[in-house]
Symmetry: D2
Subunit: 251 residues, 4 copies
């Protein structure tokens, strides 16, 4: 049994700090590094990439809409020409910084509103897929487990990596409960860790109504942007390792 743990890193901007990259790099196996569109300035990105390289953590391009003030969380009606070229631009920028850091970009994971939109929006999904293929068709794309995007990307020839969210509640149909819904965000580190253990060992996750849903996931997304999130990630890692699960990058 084997799984990847991924998290969003490199999200500081100039003097503004976010998250505890150093601590997270001791816990995760893959780091989604911001590319300057929703967060990340070049010097900070390079520092995160160097730290990831030293810790043997795989790095991916965390591409986003161009929206620093909104942190890439605002849906945007962006033209295909802009979206395709913008994703290419971000991947390339991170590739060069990764080279300077002695590592390389091993996958692409869209961020925030772009992640949510392309999970089900065929046009923007096609744009992101085209961008990845234009840069390097062998780069895997990380997608929400069960989303239509998984099939679209696979049909286009991309390797698809499905991910589950450690601290999010699931509906009986395998989709995420929308934020704001009771149970949408989980806070108990022990319970979260046990759910992820079951996901890895049995391929199921308990849903909001107590039923089980099958979920195929190659990676688990965890967060480290608060002391509580960091504690939860520590617990997830501890429980999985205790259960004999090997934590390793998918890439």
């Amino acid at each position: 049994m084997k799984i990847d743990l991924n998290s969003d890193l490199g999200e500081s901007l100039g003097v503004w700090r976010m998250g505890d990259d150093a601590a997270m790099l001791g816990l995760v196996t893959s780091a989604n590094v911001a590319c300057g569109f929703h967060a990340g300035d070049p010097a900070g990105m390079l520092a995160t990439l160097k730290a990831a390289a030293e810790r043997g953590v795989a790095v991916g391009a965390h591409v986003a809409y161009p929206d620093l003030v909104g942190f890439g969380r605002r849906a945007m009606d962006i033209a295909s020409a802009d979206l395709v070229a913008g994703v290419v631009y971000q991947i390339g920028a991170l590739q060069a910084l990764a080279r300077a850091a002695g590592t390389k970009v091993r996958y692409v994971k869209p961020h925030g509103a772009l992640y949510n939109t392309i999970a089900h929006d065929a046009r923007q999904a096609r744009d992101v897929i085209a961008a990845i293929r234009a840069v390097d068709a062998s780069l895997p794309l990380v997608v929400l487990a069960g989303a239509p995007l998984a099939r679209w990307a696979a049909d286009a020839g991309l390797r698809v990596v499905a991910e589950a969210f450690a601290d999010r509640g699931y509906a009986p149909d395998g989709t995420l409960l929308p934020r704001g819904t009771p149970g949408a965000v989980l806070h108990d580190p022990t319970r979260v860790a046990q759910r992820m253990q079951r996901l890895v060992r049995e391929g199921v996750v308990e849903t909001a109504d107590g039923s089980l849903v099958r979920l195929q996931a190659d990676s688990i997304c965890v967060h480290g942007d608060s002391p509580g999130a960091l504690a939860m990630t520590t617990q997830v890692r501890h429980v999985l390792e205790g259960a004999g699960v090997t934590l390793a990058p998918f890439a």
Copy 2:
């Protein structure tokens, strides 16, 4: 006899147009493409790269300070960590867009205030050199003919390409006359073309006081941001070709 003609292209931004890229791509042999820091949005950069690829024009990364409103023309007291990573970021972004356009980045030419500063400022010069070496040490650096930067870059192992400016006046010591000085900017297409012909054939340029100064140049920088500049470039090309000079990328 052989020389390269280079010009700054891809300097539009969103709806804002600058220069006549299509016309210039029929005249020059190398295109310095903006990388998003002083000008250029990803979709516009990609369009310029595609057009350059179609015309067989070599492309280089026109890296700059992060300053859209100032068009990269304002001197900036930027820390080394920011300058190194910023240049790496820009080169990488353009490399990926070039790949998407079916071409590749063949050189680096700093823009505006960065170009002027590193010509003689050892610290910022060292930062730019380090950035290029971190991405790809085989990328040539375009420098002002005769500037200290040429030696610093060569000592660091970079290939150096010296350029002359078609429409600028020179002092007897081979430096450019500062803008604002009488004779600093030349406007007569015929005279400009003849000067460049002499530069290529004899390796000299006439200076402000009528004396000749030796100038070794691998490339001539021309402009196309106004109808007058475009006409001058057309004339330079016409005169050089008429004199049997081969126009070809240095890269």
Copy 3:
């Protein structure tokens, strides 16, 4: 008979030029001046405001989504707190620049995607109305003639100024034909001018199917971002003046 002619000005950005502000200031009676979010840098805005003050042209705040690369034309799912404060910020910035230019901001006109969205989106409309009221409840709001926004703004106590578009086709229900539809954009200066004359004199505009629709408009929006647009504006002004219509700011 009296009408206002308004146009979007001050939409340059740093070195990038847009439109012919000098020519348009000789034709229009109200200038919608960009506030830095979709276009406009402070120095350019100030220059436009000074020129407007010299020509006796009224100025309004052309507020927009924060989106330079998209020129404020991309729909954006912006939170109320950001939209309200962003509109306040833009109005205030322009007010101070207007003071420095010896004039003052006399109205607010949203730009691009924000204009289109609030015409019918109650939530974002409420945010823009709240922003204007927070700065100065006596500032009129320019709206698309016939849009629900007109009523919402009036109900909130704002003075509403309805505008018609000189070069746009109308559907029989008084809405604009969507761009891309045949007849959505008109190109014949004479025909456009005659339509506007009829609008002012009779309060009707001919629609796509030849029928007439009643349209109450206090202002006509014209464009000057191309030689053709400038010629059309010149013709509209010429025809209206020839018909005895007084052109004057509504404010």
Copy 4:
């Protein structure tokens, strides 16, 4: 005896937090609020202004160079037209937000590299002074006690407010010890508080060589961007109040 305590607030940006504005608003009497050029997004600025209004803290415009990534700390060779209009723009934006928050902008304090530059650079100083006069000539300008700027601003008719820095060491000539020099930054809250008490009561501050220098200050600048800085500010306030000094806005 009376003195003002001022601090830099509103320096968050979107999701990125900086400092503890709520705590600081309980300690200071004047808040220098970021205006969006070096920090601060409109919604965050508005929230800080509302909190300041509730606590009865006076607010000033903390104007800066346009440089988010560099936090306004990088010297910039900015043209006068851009600097004048940029300062006008920032003051106006904050004035409107202040109005929306039920308060008003009572002074101007330049930030970071702009603050340092205009302390002694006559050209940029003149630009900032002209900008303030263009918006509202009655707005006081906060300057480094003893700097040439104080005289220039007074000669131009501005009210000048001199400030001392609580945690900085002074040279015998009354200038600040450059950062990096031993003793340039003070860390002992008790010692810092006692120095400020002596400044207020006796008009002198102890310098690096143990001598005393006369310093006329209307305000003391304190920081709250770390727990240590917050503790120091608390101590300064406590000691001053214990010594019978009245803390009140200068404005």
